[in-house]
Symmetry: C2
Subunit: 395 residues, 2 copies
C-alpha cells in the first residue's frame, strides 16, 4: 500500500461508522452516480438509435469501477490514452481497447506484452515510420499488431488528410506487410469550439465524411478496413447520420463538466463530479470566502475562460450539490481557493462559517479528476458516502 | 506496491542495464541536480548574508530526497502545504514544520497525531473561530498546539491586516488561553506580478514591514511572538534588509521555472526540472511536431500567458536540456503536445524524427511536478539516469 492509500485508508478508518460528506478529509473528489448513470443512459440511447456501438474513452475516469459502468460489456470495447490505462484496465478484465495516441517504437514492447496476455490492444498511427516500426515488431515477435490509421478531419492535431491517398496507401501497404490494418479513426477537435447545435451537426458530419472517405479509398485499394471510428463528446451528441461508421468514441460525457455545459452539450445539473472543499477563512471587505480547495485539487484548467461564461476555477455548490447562484472560484493558489460573486452578477456570498463545506463543479472533468486518487461516491443529495473508487495516474 | 509503482518498477527493470534518457518511458520528469544544487546554494548564500534562516517550502518537490538536499538539516526547518506532506516528511525524519494553509477544525486530529509522534508541527490561522478551535483541541488533548497568525501584507489572499490590532489581540489572547502563539507569518503574493528588481525590493520591504509591525504589536501587548516569518521566491531573492524577521520561506527556487524566469528571478538555464517527451508525428504543412507530452504531463498551468513572453505550455530543449531557439509547446491535448515556432519568431523547427526525444521546461514547477510520481535524476548534459526519486500527491 502506498502512503497515498494509507492516508486514504486512515481517512476511511476514522469515518468508518459514519461515512458521510461531513467526515471526509478535504479537498476530495465526490461522484454523484445518479447523474453519471443518467449521462451514460443518454448517450447509449442516442447511439443505439444511430446503429453504432459505443467505445467509451476511459481517460476521463481512470477507474475500473467507472469503466465497468460506462462500457457495454465487462470486456469492452474501450478507448485509452496511455499504456498505463491499457495495463490497468486489462488487469480489470477489459479485452478490447484502442490506444488512441500515436504509437512510438519504444512503446511496442508494452503493447506486445498486453497482446500476449490476450488483450486485443490496437495502436494508431499517421506516418510511414510508425507503420514500419509496427510491421517490424509484428514480424520479430510473431504477433500481428493491429493498427488504425488516424485521419485528420479538421486540421486540429494529428492524422492523415483523407484526400492524401498516396500516404494512406503507403501506410496501409506497409502495415499489411507484417502487421494488421484494423481501420481508420478520427476525432473532431473542432467540436470543442462550440457554436450551437447546427455547428455541432456540421462537425459531426465532417468527422463522419473524413473517415468514411478514407475507409472507402482503402477498401477500393484492396486493403482491409473493418473498423471506422469517430468520436468526441459534442459530435456524439449531435450526429444525425453515422452511415459508414462502426463505432463512436467519447469520454467526458460520463461526468460532463462546465466546459461541456458552455459548449451546450449538457446542463449544469448533469455534472456528476465535484471537488469538496472546506471553508478556512473570510476576507469580508473583499467579498471573499477562502477554502482549502486550490488549483492542486481543481487543476489549473481554465477552459471556460474563452467561453461566453467564464466560470473561474469552478462553480460553487453547497454540500449537497445545489448551486449557489453566481458564486465561482474566482482565483486559486496551490491549496487555497477564493470564492467570490461572479463579476457583475451582484450575487450575495452565502453565509458560510469556518469548517463549512462546499462542492465545486470543475471546468474539465479529465483534468480535475487527474489531481485525485479516488472518487467518493454519493447518490443525489444524500450525504452518505457509499463507496471509495480508486483511480490511477501516470503512464 | 500500487500499480503506479509496479509500472515504474517495470520501467526500471527493463532499463536496468542501461538506465539512460533514451530508455526511460515517456512522458516523464527529469531533474538536473547540478542546476538544483546551484539554485539551493544561491539562496542559502543570500540569506546567510541577511542573517535569517531558510525554511524551504516542500510543496514544490513533495519528495524526501529533494527535501533532504534543500533543508539546512535533516530535521528541518521546513514548510508544507498539506497534512499529507507533513505526514510524509515526518516519516522521513523531519521534525520542524509549519503547515502554511489556514487550519480547519476537522484537520486538528491529524495535527495532534503528528505532534504526538514528536513532530513540532505548527498551524496557521487568521480568525477567532480557528483560534478557538485550536485552543479547545489543545485543552482537550492536553497538547498545546502552536499556531502562527497569518498576516496580509498586500491584499492578495488570506491574513489579518497588520493595522487590525483588535483582531490580532483577540486571536492572540484566544490562543494563549490553551494553545501556543508561536509567531506571525506572511507571503507577498504581489511579488508574482514581476515589475523588475526595484519593484521586488519594495514587495520584500512591504512583506517585512507588515509582519514586523504585527510582531511588535503582539510583543507590546504582552503576548509571545518568537517567530517572524516571511516568504516568496521573488522577495527572498530581492530583500535588502530583513531586520526583525527570523526566517524566510520559499519553495520554487529549488527548481525554478519559466514563470520565475519571466518575473526575472532566474535565467532559463537555471530551470532544473523538465518533462521528457517522444516525437510521435509531424504535421509539416502546419509547422508542427507532435509529441506524447500533453497537458497531463505538463499540467494545465499557463502562468506565462500574461507575462511579456508567453511560453505556451513550455519551452523545448533537446534530450540534453539544450534550448532550441524559440520552439514552444504551442498547444496541448491530454496526451499530445504540439511543438511549433513561437509566433513571429521565424524560428525553424528542429529536424526530429518519430521516436526522437525532447525535454520541455515547465511554466510552473509545482504544477508540472504534481502530474508525476517520480523524478529521474541526471547531472548536467549526462544521459545517465542516476536515480529515481519518488514523489507523492494527495492530501
Amino acid at each position: 500500500m502506498t502512503s497515498t492509500q494509507q492516508v486514504a485508508a486512515e481517512t476511511f478508518g476514522r469515518t468508518e461508522t459514519a461515512m458521510t460528506l461531513e467526515t471526509l478529509e478535504t479537498p476530495c473528489l465526490v461522484l454523484d452516480t445518479e447523474r453519471m448513470e443518467r449521462n451514460i443512459a443518454r448517450l447509449r440511447t442516442r447511439l443505439d438509435g444511430l446503429g453504432v456501438s459505443l467505445r467509451p474513452h476511459l481517460k476521463t475516469s481512470k477507474s475500473a469501477e467507472v469503466a465497468r459502468r460506462v462500457m457495454t460489456t465487462p470486456e469492452g470495447p474501450a478507448t485509452v490514452s496511455t499504456l498505463k490505462e491499457a495495463e490497468q484496465f486489462a488487469s480489470a478484465g477489459v479485452r478490447d481497447m484502442i490506444y488512441a495516441v500515436g504509437i512510438t517504437p519504444s512503446k511496442l514492447a508494452r503493447v506486445l506484452e498486453l497482446r500476449a496476455r490476450g488483450v486485443d490492444l490496437v495502436v494508431i498511427l499517421d506516418n510511414v515510420d510508425q507503420a514500419r516500426a509496427v510491421a517490424e515488431a509484428s514480424i520479430t515477435s510473431g504477433m500481428r499488431i493491429p493498427a488504425m490509421i488516424e485521419i485528420d478531419c479538421d486540421g486540429h492535431r494529428s492524422g492523415v488528410a483523407p484526400a492524401n491517398q498516396a500516404l494512406l496507401l503507403e501506410i496501409g501497404q506497409t502495415l499489411a506487410a507484417g502487421a494488421e490494418l484494423r481501420g481508420v479513426l478520427t476525432h473532431a477537435g473542432d467540436s470543442y469550439k462550440g457554436g450551437g447545435p447546427q455547428a455541432q451537426e456540421r462537425f459531426a458530419e465532417a468527422e463522419r465524411a473524413a473517415v468514411v472517405e478514407a475507409a472507402q479509398f482503402l477498401h477500393a485499394s484492396g486493403l482491409p478496413c473493418p473498423v471506422v471510428s469517430v468520436g468526441s463528446t459534442p459530435t456524439a451528441h449531435h450526429a444525425l447520420d453515422l452511415s459508414g461508421v462502426t463505432e463512436v468514441r467519447a469520454g467526458v460525457f460520463v461526468f460532463f463538466d462546465l466546459f461541456m455545459a458552455g459548449v451546450g452539450i449538457c446542463q449544469i445539473d448533469d455534472i456528476a463530479m465535484s471537488v469538496m472543499a472546506t471553508v478556512i477563512g473570510h476576507q469580508r471587505e473583499k467579498g471573499w470566502i477562502i477554502t482549502d480547495g486550490g488549483w492542486m485539487s481543481l487543476s489549473r484548467d481554465r477552459g471556460t475562460s474563452k467561453q461566453a461564461v467564464d466560470q473561474g476555477y469552478g462553480l460553487v455548490c453547497d454540500i449537497e450539490g445545489k448551486l449557489y447562484s453566481d458564486i465561482i472560484v474566482a482565483d486559486a493558489n496551490q491549496e487555497h481557493g477564493i470564492l467570490a460573486a461572479r463579476p457583475g452578477s451582484g450575487a450575495q456570498l452565502p453565509d458560510l462559517a469556518v469548517g463549512d463545506r462546499v462542492r465545486i463543479l470543475p471546468n474539465h472533468a479529465c483534468a480535475t479528476g487527474a489531481q485525485h486518487d479516488a472518487y467518493h461516491v454519493v447518490r443525489g443529495t444524500s450525504h452518505t458516502v457509499e463507496a471509495r473508487w480508486s483511480r490511477f495516474g501516470g503512464w
